[in-house]
């Protein structure tokens, strides 16, 4: 098996790595780059815990191969805080109490970020639709949707 070279932008920084191709984007981000906010829940595209923002769109990184990152612009939760200050979506999740065990939270926050970047003032229905691919076992969805609405209102 030949190694492949992956050159891409992750959280605003240029990254270049030589890796074996038989890994998912999820594994590349966690194992090669140490970005452990990217969670593996189901590993089958169902739960959204592994969501990252890929060229502006939320995608499930367990459904992609590492090699598909070539040339891409990727954002994980680690890329959201600026100068040690959390993003308004992260703050809203804390303030509203939309986090319990926290396993789904990175995926939730990134999906919300991708939504608000495109549509800064979504309706509640648009929020619910955008967040429908992220599952939470603990909190229930009302608080999560409220947190996104709160962040949008700020």
């Amino acid at each position: 098996m030949n190694k492949i070279k992956i050159t891409c932008t992750v959280n605003g920084e240029a990254v270049c790595r030589e890796v074996y191709p038989n890994q998912r984007l999820l594994d590349f981000l966690r194992e090669e780059l140490g970005l452990t906010s990217v969670k593996e829940g189901c590993g089958e595209g169902e739960c959204g815990a592994c969501t990252v923002i890929f060229n502006g769109e939320p995608v499930t990184s367990c459904c992609m191969l590492a090699g598909q990152a070539e040339g891409a612009d990727i954002v994980t939760l680690e890329g959201l805080s600026k100068n040690g200050e959390m993003d308004k979506i992260q703050k809203a999740f804390i303030e509203v109490g939309a986090v319990q065990c926290g396993f789904c939270t990175p995926g939730m926050v990134l999906t919300a970020k991708a939504l608000l970047d495109k549509n800064p003032h979504p309706t509640m229905d648009e929020i619910k639709l955008a967040m429908s691919g992220n599952l939470c076992r603990c909190t229930g969805y009302a608080k999560i949707h409220q947190a996104v609405a709160k962040a949008a209102a700020e």
Partner: protein, 296 residues
């Protein structure tokens, strides 16, 4: 994941060259929503993986000569967001808008949906309802065939007509005109991420007098391929369209479902009920669309 060599061609000729070279053991990855999971679970262990996601030339929606032509790499999200498809080809719009989740719609492509040829494929059900055709290319050239023939084809892995050195490049269908309405309704176990239990597709054309000139009634998930309700179609064709007429076809649909599920009697009851529920919704939707169009 087993070991494999990985290639990421940036043009179709380059991809075809690679497919030919590694004809004996390759896997194409488009959106990856079906195949990456299979690779990861070692259900599939090819020697070479060819990522086609960078073939931007296969990402398009064109309206030409009365046809809608969609590049194989176009995502469900892009199809669902196209305003002209939403207005004129509702069966496809709805099917793509309801695939999986937003993340899966961003990744998943129409070419992947048709190539996987899953019994639950919503894109498959919608495209069969539209009587679509697909274009397959290899180093030797191009061939075009009806999607139903593609699905019944005896290709390299018996799933469809694809040979191991072939790439699907396009799917196209005749754009529904002002006298034609189409609709899709999916019955599924959960609201999002739901794999269809039944995905019903309907296309109906009428003349100025409201007489049915063309009709297609298809049910996804009921058989290996979207099931054609032929007796029901024949009953409606040539008659004046009404809700009563359409409802007369429900027993014919039941009979067919009953027939096909003879070996699985436990599934008959719910499938029968679901078919009725799904098609009643489609009938009302289609009539509403046509009354607006025809009456105007």
């Amino acid at each position: 994941m087993r070991e494999f060599d990985f290639y990421s061609p940036t043009s179709v000729p380059e991809a075809l060259e690679l497919l030919r070279k590694y004809k004996d053991s390759n896997a194409i990855v488009a959106g990856g929503t079906d195949i990456v999971i299979e690779l990861n679970e070692r259900k599939h262990t090819p020697k070479v993986v060819i990522d086609i996601k960078r073939l931007k030339e296969l990402e398009y929606i064109r309206f030409e000569d009365g046809l809608v032509k969609i590049g194989a790499l176009t995502s469900h999200a892009a199809i669902a967001a196209d305003p002209r498809i939403a207005e004129r080809t509702r069966v496809l719009h709805t099917a793509c808008a309801e695939v999986g989740s937003p993340q899966i719609r961003n990744l998943g492509t129409i070419g992947g949906n048709l190539s996987t040829a899953s019994v639950a494929g919503d894109g498959v059900a919608a495209m069969v309802t539209l009587d679509a055709s697909v274009v397959l290319r290899s180093k030797d050239g191009e061939r075009t065939m009806k999607l139903v023939d593609f699905l019944n084809g005896e290709g390299y892995d018996k799933r469809n007509a694809l040979q191991s050195d072939e790439l699907m490049t396009e799917v196209f269908f005749t754009e529904p005109d002002a006298h034609t309405a189409t609709a899709f309704y999916k019955l599924a176990k959960r609201k999002s991420l739901a794999i269809s239990v039944i995905g019903g597709g309907m296309r109906c054309s009428v003349d100025d007098a409201g007489v049915v000139t063309a009709i297609s009634l298809r049910g996804g998930c009921l058989g290996r391929y979207p099931l054609q309700f032929k007796a029901a179609e024949e009953h409606v064709l040539g008659k004046k369209l009404s809700l009563e007429l359409l409802r007369e076809t429900l027993p014919m649909m039941h009979d067919l479902v009953l027939d096909l599920n003879r070996n699985r009697p436990w599934s008959v009851f719910y499938k029968k009920e679901s078919v009725q529920g799904v098609f009643n919704k489609l009938f009302v939707d289609i009539l509403a669309q046509l009354n607006m169009e025809v009456g105007a």
